[in-house]
């Protein structure tokens, strides 16, 4: 193939988009519910995940982990382990990490396996010829410790909380507003430690060739992951390549490089052969990240007409010493509801527990359900219908900053959702509707998730035969990246999607922001759009017209009354466009968020305390929807994640040493098929947000989770007449109140 003709288009998002370019294209494939192009591979078991396609000669690793919560490792029965069958090495290397990197760190997390900060922390790695031998030797490991567990801080109640000044804010006088208000609530809620529980355990296969590392891993953000891994190993980032073609779920647990990646790379280097490490499910629970538990105090007050006059939201969260991340619980509180008197508090406790990291929608996932449940309590106190109460309190502008919203569709989502759900049939008096042993109730919640953009680059190549190749290091963790990037390129280049091939998940490809924070599709998608636009410019030049006059459809190039086959116009050339989108000033002047509303009907057994979610429906506005099918599935997944949060999911930490008492999928309960009803999901297909990016699309992957649990507890309150302020609402808590 001849050298491609290279073209470039960079765009910094400083001004709102005025072109709405995708709406002017002719192919008609964007936004359609196209099937996932990788579907045939996934349903036939031929899509290849991290712990597969092992190179010949692969050895297997198993982590030895600390069984104290704090102290130092002073010895290990290494000699004994080395004599066990098949054992190749027992590795304790200063480059090993304490906990996985946080999303976007781009540098190594805390290193050194000798000092122990939490029970279950990897302290050594056993490598053997087979998986069974490595596991056996790993389980036979006995460490000696200098044990300072007596100084470990396990329970949040024992922790000293930091109060970082930048995370506190105050406007007006909330105390005075609370005193003067016609109605007020001052309530405390708590949410437990939770676990991502992606179906694919964290795994990595590493091998070195000519001083360069290749690592098959299960990661979400390859550009920063390669930097984290290189930094941990002490090598140049050019010496590291990470492959994550398919990722078996992430939910934030694979945002940063983890033990398996660093450990496999070190072991492969020492042994001079490939090494595979797949974390055992227990290790996934205890040695990756968790979502921090939260304690939240919410104060709300309103006048006699139900207009909010004050809102206070304080959150107590935790993490390991020295970790920058803390669950940003109050993130959406600053702008969702009106009220001139406002207080935000954010306090971070340092615990000797498995580190806390981002789990699907860090912040809003636990913050919105709680503020929304408190809103529900206040609406009840004020005697105003919960839908009407929320509609009265949607602010005109961001009440914390005075900045306008880029777009605010919250009221539309609430109104449309209420209508579709049949909200008018809601039991007016809590605890009044009964079907035999079952108490029936309706609840709703506003759904809020901030919108972000991340710097991303992609390469799109038009080949002489009129097919296109899309390449970026973006990942598809089930979110639909393969689908939407294919559709964007197909739309921009006027090609049927079958003529577009999308290659992702290779850190050698142009860097994207990766999958995290619901930025992936909009950011990497914008870079693909820009790359394709650069190609359109070249095609227009060859047709002797302006790009605006160019129509591309079904592999033909049309300018005015001239129509040519794309392959003719290419005339044997390959055109390679590189597109880059960068964050800019557009996000400074306006508050950006995705919006939604969810409605729920529950049945609560007065005999067993069981809560059944009978109906769950949602309406969502997230700018342009890139693929109606994958977007709907993301919303469905988020809502079901919320069912788990409301009713099932809780990590129980042993109060003595912090270990996970439920560290597997039988004891940590995620929703199963029978827990889930059919769902009504409506996407506002006409929504656009010109401030977000050139595609006018916003984040949707996390959105639907951000409030679901609120809708469910509000429905439980309507069914039973009792408020439940401790998540999850398990049978024991229900029975205690029902008597």
């Amino acid at each position: 193939m001849p050298e491609p003709i290279e073209l470039k288009l960079d765009h910094r998002m400083d001004l709102p988009d005025q072109e709405d370019l995708l709406d002017r294209m002719a192919q008609g494939v964007i936004s359609t519910p196209m099937d996932r192009p990788e579907g045939p591979l996934k349903v036939s078991g031929t899509a290849s995940y991290a712990d597969e396609d092992h190179p010949p000669g692969t050895a297997y690793g198993w982590f030895v982990r600390a069984n104290i919560a704090k102290g130092w490792v002073t010895g290990l029965n290494t000699k004994e382990l080395q004599t066990m069958p098949g054992v190749l090495a027992v590795i304790r290397d200063d480059r090993m990490i304490r906990n996985p990197a946080q999303g976007g760190d781009a540098k190594s997390p805390h290193q050194g396996p000798a000092e122990i900060f939490y029970k279950g922390q990897p302290i050594a790695l056993v490598v053997a010829e087979t998986f069974e031998q490595a596991r056996d030797a790993g389980l036979a490991a006995r460490a000696e410790y200098k044990d300072s567990s007596h100084k470990a801080v396990i329970l949040p109640a024992q922790a000293k909380y930091e109060e970082p000044r930048s995370k506190q804010s105050s406007q007006g006088n909330l105390d005075r507003a609370m005193k003067k208000a016609a109605f007020s609530v001052d309530v405390e809620y708590d949410t437990p430690s939770m676990s991502h529980a992606a179906m694919e355990p964290h795994a990595a296969v590493a091998w070195w060739e000519d001083g360069r590392l290749t690592l098959r891993g299960s990661y979400q953000m390859l550009n920063s992951n390669a930097q984290e891994l290189a930094d941990a190993l002490g090598v140049s980032v050019k010496k590291v390549r990470i492959l994550s073609r398919y990722v078996g779920g992430g939910f934030g647990s694979k945002l940063g490089i983890g033990h398996e990646g660093v450990g496999a790379a070190i072991a492969a280097q020492k042994l001079g052969r490939p090494v595979a490490i797949a974390l055992h499910r227990r290790q996934v629970f205890e040695a990756t990240h968790r979502r921090s538990e939260t304690r939240q105090r919410v104060r709300l007050c309103c006048d006699a007409d139900g207009h909010l006059t004050g809102i206070g939201h304080e959150a107590w969260v935790s993490n390991l010493p020295g970790e920058d991340f803390s669950e940003p619980v109050t993130q959406a509180t600053s702008f969702t509801w009106a009220g001139e008197n406002r207080e935000i508090g954010h306090y971070i406790g340092r615990l000797n527990l498995t580190g806390a990291g981002s789990m699907r929608a860090p912040g809003e996932a636990v913050g919105v359900p709680v503020t929304d449940a408190a809103m529900d309590e206040l609406s009840e106190a004020a005697g105003i219908d919960p839908v009407e109460f929320r509609l009265r309190n949607i602010p005109e502008t961001d009440p914390s900053t005075g900045k306008p919203f880029s777009s605010n569709r919250l009221a539309d989502c609430i109104r449309i959702g209420a209508e579709r759900f049949g909200w008018s049939e809601r039991p007016k008096v809590p605890g009044s509707r009964r079907e035999g042993e079952w108490l029936i109730g309706f609840g709703m919640s506003a759904i809020i998730r901030v919108n972000m953009l991340g710097d991303s680059t992609a390469r799109v190549t038009l080949r002489p035969d009129g097919t296109a190749l899309v390449e970026t290091d973006m990942t598809d963790i089930g979110t639909g990246s393969y689908s939407v990037l294919t559709q964007i390129a197909a739309e921009m280049l006027g090609l049927p999607p079958e003529r577009v091939t999308t290659v992702l998940g290779d850190s050698d490809l142009p860097p994207s922001i990766g999958s995290g924070g619901s930025r992936g599709a909009a950011s990497s998608g914008s870079s693909v759009m820009l790359a394709a636009r650069a190609l359109r410019g070249k095609l227009a030049e060859r047709m002797g017209c302006d790009e605006e006059e160019l129509t591309l459809k079904d592999g033909t190039v049309i300018a005015g009354n001239r129509q040519r086959d794309l392959a003719d116009v290419l005339a044997g050339d390959s055109l390679q466009g590189t597109g880059t989108i960068r964050k800019g000033k557009a996000e400074d002047g306006h508050r950006q968020s995705s919006w939604g509303a969810e409605f729920c009907e529950v049945a609560v057994s007065s005999v067993t305390g069981e809560v059944h979610v009978r109906r769950l429906s949602g309406v969502f506005a997230a700018g342009r929807i890139l693929n109606a099918k994958t977007a709907r599935s993301q919303c469905m997944g988020g809502m079901i994640f919320g069912i788990g949060q409301a009713l099932h999911e809780e990590v129980f930490h042993d109060a003595r040493d912090g270990s996970f008492m439920n560290r597997d999928l039988a004891e940590y309960h995620v929703p199963v098929n029978l827990d889930v009803p059919h769902m009504d999901i409506e996407l506002l297909m006409d929504d656009r947000d010109p401030f977000a990016n050139p595609m006018q699309a916003k984040g949707i992957g996390e959105l639907a989770l951000c409030g679901t649990a609120g809708a469910i507890v509000n429905a439980i309150a309507n069914a039973t007449g009792h408020r439940f302020r401790s998540f999850p609402v398990t049978l024991d808590k229900v029975l205690e109140k029902l008597g």
Binding site: L41, D136, A198, M199, Y246, P671
Partner: protein, 172 residues
Amino acid sequence: MDVTLTVNGTPHVLEIDDPRVSLLDALRQRLDLTGTKKGCDHGQCGACTVIVNGRRINSCLTLAVMHEGDEITTIEGIGTPGDLAPLQQAFIRHDGFQCGYCTPGQIMSATAMLEELRQGWPSQVTGDLGSPALSDDEIRERMSGNLCRCSCYPNIVDAIREVAGKAAEGAA
């Protein structure tokens, strides 16, 4: 010791020198049939579901050496990317998966489950034990051993119901 497994119709003689090798690891590491997934290695998630002698089992909970002479069907034996079975096609059409990791197990489980239903096996939610009908709740209950953290459950039910419905029409 040598163990003969007939996998997707093809006999394989495996030299299993370690009795601790699970059927799952034998399939994945010795036969390179990595369509069968390891999610928990504990029989809790269903990602490793295969059909052995006509019944679905969690292949992580059984040892390879226990399956001398057994007939094993894995996802690779259900259909290939170029020649997909109706259930596989329906999973694509209804978006019955996202990350795809639990998907082979879901499809294996669904395949066996429809046969169980056809043979009249009752379940926890069956009202009339004599004749369980193909309802959404029957599908949900019988598929509840297969976790999907992306949570495509309603789409999985739609996919299974469509295929089962068509099969029933064909039979009638």
